[in-house]
Symmetry: C2
Subunit: 117 residues, 2 copies
């Protein structure tokens, strides 16, 4: 885990970037901007401590689906994909199993949503 600070407006990751880890908001507000968002000023979602973001790319091994930018002065904690996988390996069998099911189901639902839209 590694803490990094960003100034308002600074990009944490961009839509389309490879997903190399997930982030935990430690201080300040992070804005998430979906590709459909044409306003660079108003985020679609604002996250505060202790929110986690960027986890779907790690679970799914997909590219980032949104852009994350510091909305205020922020500090975020980065957990690399490798570190997350190690934490998962060390986790309780039942907890790990349930996490696996939930992410699978989420993937299915998102696939269907994309299909139907």
């Amino acid at each position: 885990m590694k803490a990094t600070s960003y100034k308002p407006g600074q990009v944490i990751f961009k839509n389309g970037d490879p997903a190399d880890g997930l982030y935990i908001v430690s201080d300040g507000q992070v804005g998430l901007y979906f590709p459909t968002n044409m306003s660079a000023n108003q985020p679609d979602i604002t996250l505060e401590k202790p929110a986690i973001f960027g986890e779907m790319g790690v679970i799914d091994n997909q590219l980032r689906m949104a852009t994350a930018r510091a909305f205020t002065d922020v500090t975020v904690i980065f957990v690399s994909r490798k570190e997350f996988e190690q934490r998962l390996e060390g986790a309780d069998m039942v907890v790990r199993g349930v996490l696996g099911i939930l992410s699978e189901r989420l993937r299915d639902m998102q696939r269907k949503k994309i299909k139907n839209s």
Copy 2:
């Protein structure tokens, strides 16, 4: 955790029952029947070891949304809600956080799906 065996056709839980825990298939096949399924013979989903089922009710604190019946001779391991919560409390902070996000997102998507259908 408690292992229980069921004979083919025996009900493990019924649609509408309170969700007091989750199950892990240890041996044999379990059939899940959604309320829309009028045929008592053909399950909507068949599960084998090491599948987990009945976890949504535990996470969501909702009633069972399907009926689970032994399809063959089966042995399942029951993990009570309380035990699952204890396992979760003992889990790594990041893993627990990600599990929390996934279940929240799944709830949201299911709510929207119900709204739109």
